[in-house]
Symmetry: C2
Subunit: 347 residues, 2 copies
């Protein structure tokens, strides 16, 4: 029986070669190929012996008796972990593509997803940043016309909410001013969690006949608490999966695409990513490791980017297990630092 320890340097080199070749071709790779295209100068027979060992150790798999070997999830994992340790690279062209249309954040993120997709040939997603929007920074009611007023609420992180409120009975300018005073003095700087029933009752009492307005404003505030609702996810290049036969059969394609359409499932990915963040903020899920069940035949690479004030968002790349991890990780790091940079510059 072989043990973990027996992963000699040579075996490692062979494994590496197998994976690299497989990433390229998507076909099982045989002993002869390795023997020829490696500088190890070993015959195919020797390679075969080593491959038998590697299979026993669980790093590669033989799809059927007379086929070459393909990497197992464990093999990919080893490979990726090795890559992750590598030092950073310099960043280059992607930058200018991004800057073209960097006027609005929303646009920017859409653009980022698109660039990343066309850059990698995989499916991508980008979530809008969130978190930390838990303090009320500013509230203002304004009269739009005789029948309605608008409530604008600015939260920490400059998240803006507004709500149109229909008046049941006219409201004088004077009273509006009073309400504004009341709301601001009471709520400004207050964490959302602290708004409870007692506070609401007190506010309504003080508002007198206009308590209905207060109720509406607080409703708007309540909306904000369900953070999910405010997180948008932009996707791009979904159809790239058709480029990889192993994901193009009806069932897989359907699974993956519906996960992309009902962004619900992707939010799961986002929260996971934000939770587990390590030092680099980059994570790789291979096969079953993924939090999204619909993508169990894929590999998913995610990264976190930060806005200045603690708001965080997520970037994701979804592709076949045999994705070009090297390229993907590089692109990821690049985009990540670009977004970081861009947002810090702007704030």
């Amino acid at each position: 029986m072989l043990t973990e320890h027996e992963l000699t340097d040579r075996k490692l080199k062979i494994l590496h070669a197998i994976i690299k070749t497989y990433l390229d071709t998507g076909e099982p790779v045989g002993s002869r190929t390795i023997s020829k295209y490696t500088d190890l100068n070993l015959s195919s027979a020797t390679i075969r012996n080593e491959m038998a060992d590697l299979e026993e150790l669980g790093y590669i798999i033989q799809p059927h008796t007379s086929a070459g070997r393909i990497p197992s999830d464990k093999g990919y994992r080893l490979y990726v972990d090795m890559l992750m340790e590598e030092k950073e690279q310099e960043l280059t062209e992607m930058q200018e593509q991004m800057l073209q249309k960097a006027d609005k954040m929303e646009q920017l993120l859409k653009q980022a997803a698109k660039v990343l997709a066309s850059n990698t040939n995989y499916a991508t997603m980008v979530s809008t940043p969130m978190g930390n929007a838990n303090k009320i920074k500013f509230i203002q009611l304004s009269m739009v016309d005789e029948e309605q007023i608008i409530a604008v609420i600015v939260l920490g992180g400059n998240v803006i909410k507004n709500k149109i409120i229909n008046l049941e009975e006219p409201l004088s300018n004077e009273n509006l001013l009073k309400l504004n005073m009341l709301l601001n003095t009471t709520l400004n700087g207050m964490p959302i969690e602290e708004i409870n029933l007692g506070l609401i009752a007190r506010l309504k009492e003080q508002a007198g006949i206009h308590s209905e307005v207060i109720g509406n404003v607080l409703d708007a505030v309540a909306d904000v608490i369900q953070i999910d609702e405010d997180m948008q996810i932009y996707t791009s290049g979904t159809t790239n999966i058709f480029k990889y036969p192993e994901l193009s059969d009806k069932q897989s394609a359907q699974d993956i695409i519906s996960a992309f359409e009902e962004k619900q499932q992707l939010t799961e990915l986002v929260t996971q990513t934000l939770a587990q963040e390590d030092n680099t903020g980059i994570q790789v899920y291979i096969g079953d490791e993924t939090p999204v069940q619909n993508m169990k035949d894929c590999s998913v690479v995610t990264a976190t980017y930060e806005l200045g004030d603690g708001m965080k968002g997520t970037i994701g790349i979804i592709g076949p297990k045999r994705m070009d991890y090297e390229h993907v990780l590089k692109s990821m790091k690049r985009l990540q630092s670009e977004l970081d940079q861009m947002f810090h510059k702007k704030e």
Copy 2:
């Protein structure tokens, strides 16, 4: 040579039977089938003769020599036109499914797309209503903190825009008041089209040292003019297309799905629909008739719904040419009137 006139009653019945059967099965239908499952009491041979005629007239097509016939686009068209003339039906269950979560419009529309998709087994889209947002109803600048103010702009149809503006130098409350006065007196009720360079220059002049703020506010206004940007499109059931073999091959699937992802292409559909609206507001595009090239192998059914104040949105169903037009048209009308009703009730 046969002419349009020779479409006898019998031929019509046979055509009808062919189409109905084909809608069900998706397989070419032969003379024998029609002979057996129709109350015409004709032998398959007779049917064959008639079918030959129908083919010459262009209503049906023979995919290959020894196959049955399938409807041509022209055949579908005739069929649909006949259906369109039918009188309305009563509306029923769909309603309650909708009402569950009808709190926010956005939610409601997403829900509508979903219900429609699960109801028909086709892919669906719903656009948020737009149009008419061309008058400025109200503008308000408010101080958020020492460094930034927020501009809120309400347009006709209660479209709300906001923009955070960073101040280069402090702004007194007094001056803020002045700016508000200036903006409101000048811009209130003004159609967006009328804001031109001359007006902007004049405003900036009057704003004095704070002209930069005015510029920013007008930028926000300018954003609104590109209406597209504000129109959201929700899709659902994209993967339903995999239920229809004729749309599941890689190329078709890719085309259709990418049209659904890059909503850009769907906006084209929306604008077309809104433009050509006839009395019912329902349109059917068969095959090449569609405005979206990526869907040339599909049929697309669209409908318009209205909000009280002239805002209009679009619903769309995308499926195979052999879609169940009867059911789809019925569902469409139902949803359409429900949305109409719902929004009118709410406003």
